[in-house]
């Protein structure tokens, strides 16, 4: 076996935009705008004390996460999101109401009040519900793929999951990715290197230059991209998704960007140096994405404005519905942790 090639795409060019195409770019930007709009709303609801539990946003990571969601096939692929993947979730087909219901404590959310917010998922729709322990979804996605291989339905399927720079320090990440590499599974793993894990800067988290340096050690393909650019995200992730889909084993995509919000909405992120915010890493991918589309002639400012308005309406509606709904009724809970009667 020869070592996988590791290309690095840190800038994007109109030519790569051409390979992506107008429709995909338009759809991704719309998803990014929708996600940003939803999350801004959740942030204000949090400030107003209306949210049950914590609020963790993906501000600044919409291009990275949303591109993945748009590049996956909603009908057969697997997507295991983490805490900053609202854009990916939405792009992969999650309805807004799932998000508003969990955050507002409606019993009608996918987790029925039993688990919350970013932990929501619908495993039967190939969207696992994350547990908090970082890194632990990597092996789960590997298992979902292995099941398909045994069932003869793996062909053309990709399983994708996301982690942050900090999560790469977990044993779970390491064991999971190594296992997937040994099994040569069609796994795509996005590493959002957003400069911080909570307040901890990269240099207290790892000592390599780029987390992409880890790909070779797992024997997996890899690519590093400027995740503040939509074109670069779509191009890079498409390469990885295609490589995985066509049987080249796991692919790692390291996205360089900056978290443009606190760790959670309880955190003001004051530890992020202004120079970093003002650097290229701090570029807002949504605003930049708009410029990218306009410059490519793929959308007009007016169109984008209308997407924004549409998004606001959709979000309003999803919030309004969830707000009217009741929370779970503890007296109707059956308090059963196993499915088989008598087994508790």
């Amino acid at each position: 076996m020869s070592a996988p090639q590791i290309p690095v795409i840190l800038s994007s060019s109109p030519s790569s935009a051409a390979t992506i195409g107008r429709d995909l770019m338009r759809r991704t930007l719309r998803m990014m705008i929708l996600s940003r709009t939803l999350e801004s709303k959740l942030a204000s609801l949090y400030k107003a004390g209306k949210i049950v539990g914590g609020v963790y946003l993906g501000t600044g990571q919409e291009a990275f996460s949303g591109s993945l969601g748009c590049l996956l096939d909603q009908d057969r692929d697997i997507f295991a999101p983490l805490i900053r993947d609202q854009a990916g979730r939405t792009a992969f087909g999650e309805e807004l109401i799932d998000a508003t219901r969990t955050h507002l404590g409606s019993a009608q959310g996918p987790m029925r009040g039993r688990d919350g917010n970013i932990h929501r998922g619908r495993p039967s729709e190939r969207r696992p519900a994350m547990i908090s322990h970082l890194g632990s979804a990597v092996s789960v996605v590997a298992g979902m793929l292995i099941a398909r291989r045994m069932q003869g339905s793996l062909t053309g399927v990709v399983g994708a999951t996301c982690v942050g720079d900090g999560a790469t320090s977990t044993g779970a990440f390491h064991e999971g990715l190594n296992l997937a590499a040994v099994e040569k599974l069609p796994l795509v793993i996005l590493v959002a290197d957003n400069q911080f894990a909570y307040s901890t800067p990269r240099e207290r988290q790892f000592a390599c230059n780029s987390l992409l340096d880890r790909a070779a050690g797992y024997g997996v393909g890899g690519i590093e991209i400027d995740a503040t650019s939509l074109v670069s995200c779509l191009t890079g992730i498409q390469t990885a998704v295609n490589a995985a889909r066509s049987g080249n084993g796991p692919q790692m995509v390291v996205g360089r960007l900056l978290r443009l919000c606190g760790h959670g909405e309880h955190d003001d992120g004051s530890y992020v140096a202004p120079e970093l915010k003002n650097s290229l890493l701090g570029r807002d991918c949504v605003e930049n994405g708009k410029v990218e589309l306009i410059e490519l002639g793929y959308a007009t400012a007016a169109e984008i404005e209308s997407w924004q308005e549409e998004a606001s309406e959709q979000v309003q509606e999803a919030v309004a519905i969830a707000q009217k709904e009741n929370g779970p009724d503890p007296y109707c809970e059956d308090w059963r942790a196993v499915s088989t009667p008598g087994m508790q």
């Binding site: 987790m111 092996s139 996605v141 190594n178």
Partner: protein, 321 residues
């Protein structure tokens, strides 16, 4: 011809692989090598696609199996030793154990745990894990004491839609033989009267069932008739059978090979006193292993865990009250 406890475990896996396409095995060295204890010997030959060697990654092994289990498969994960499941602990309790409650989707996963001490195995190849996993919601914890149960309970475990911690006892692997596996008797969740009696009840499970029977046998010469209840599964715990026995005998000794703080014996005693206090003619007692790591030297090991002698001693205390 005779069947050992480990034969039964191998046979159950073979039959499951043959009967069902959704069963697969995953673990270290379980393929061509047949596993550290040969519980999977020859199985990869017949099912090359469904008997897979894993890297030394217990966390990922269980995570992988969970992913497969929610995708229509029924994985059996072999821990090389139960002690190494400490590395998979997070996936077991937080991912497998919570999944049904959180999402409504069950996780039909079985983790085979070679448990318990054998002479010379030491602190890291001898642990019991039923107390650990019994404490966490969402897991079924099984601990068969005989050949027939090793077979039938493993089959039931794999067919169950929920995650099962299957605690096998290494001491029984080759030592325990039976003429045949036999027909299924009780089902999962039911305790068994391993030896009937009327003066005191010993509630136990796994290898300690045999030590308890030995202790009972030796007290029989003095006219004491000791009843031994084999729990078979510690979660669910068949309190009805236990209480019925205590109702007959009026005396309870909860016996286990695990560490003494908390665990099965504490759970048994607490439930019995809560629901059957009036049945008791004497304080219910417990006997467990000592509160240190499991020593490696056979002489220390033999004193660390309960023995027929120490069980007899405890029973005398109970009977003389």
């Amino acid at each position: 011809m005779s069947v050992t406890y480990i034969d039964a475990i191998r046979q159950a896996q073979l039959d499951l692989l043959r009967e069902r396409e959704d069963v697969f095995l995953y673990g270290q060295d379980i393929g061509a090598f047949g596993g550290a204890f040969k519980a999977t010997k020859g199985l990869q030959e017949e099912f090359p696609e469904r008997v897979l060697d894993s890297p030394i990654s217990e966390d990922a092994m269980v995570g992988m199996a969970i992913g497969a289990a929610i995708s229509g498969m029924r994985p059996i994960v072999e821990m090389q030793f139960a002690d190494f499941s400490s590395v998979a602990f997070n996936q077991i309790v937080n991912q497998a154990g919570t999944h049904f409650y959180r999402t409504g989707i069950p996780v039909p996963l079985t983790v085979r745990m070679p448990c318990g001490g054998t002479p010379g195995s030491g602190p890291f190849h001898s642990q019991m894990v039923e107390a650990l996993y019994g404490h966490y919601p969402g897991l079924v914890v099984i601990a068969p004491a005989n050949v027939s149960d090793a077979y039938h309970l493993l089959k039931e475990a794999v067919l169950l839609d929920d995650p099962v911690i299957f605690c096998e006892h290494k001491f029984l692997y080759r030592w325990l033989k039976s003429d045949e596996i036999g027909e299924p008797g009780l089902s999962l969740g039911q305790a068994r009267i391993a030896r009937p009696g009327k003066h005191a009840t010993v509630v136990t499970y796994s290898a300690m069932v045999h030590e308890a029977v030995r202790a009972a046998d030796s007290l029989a010469s003095e006219g004491w008739e000791i009843e031994v209840v084999d729990l078979r599964s510690v979660k669910p715990l068949d309190l009805d059978t236990v209480i019925a026995s205590v109702a007959r005998t009026g005396r309870l000794l909860a016996l286990g090979e695990a560490f003494p703080w908390g665990g099965v014996t504490a759970e048994v005693v607490s439930r019995v006193v809560a629901e059957g206090f009036h049945l008791l003619d004497a304080p219910p007692l417990r006997l467990n292993a000592k509160d240190t790591p499991i020593p490696y030297h056979p002489d220390l090991w033999a004193s660390h865990r309960p023995t027929p002698e120490s069980i007899v001693e405890k029973l005398r205390e109970l009977l003389n009250f």
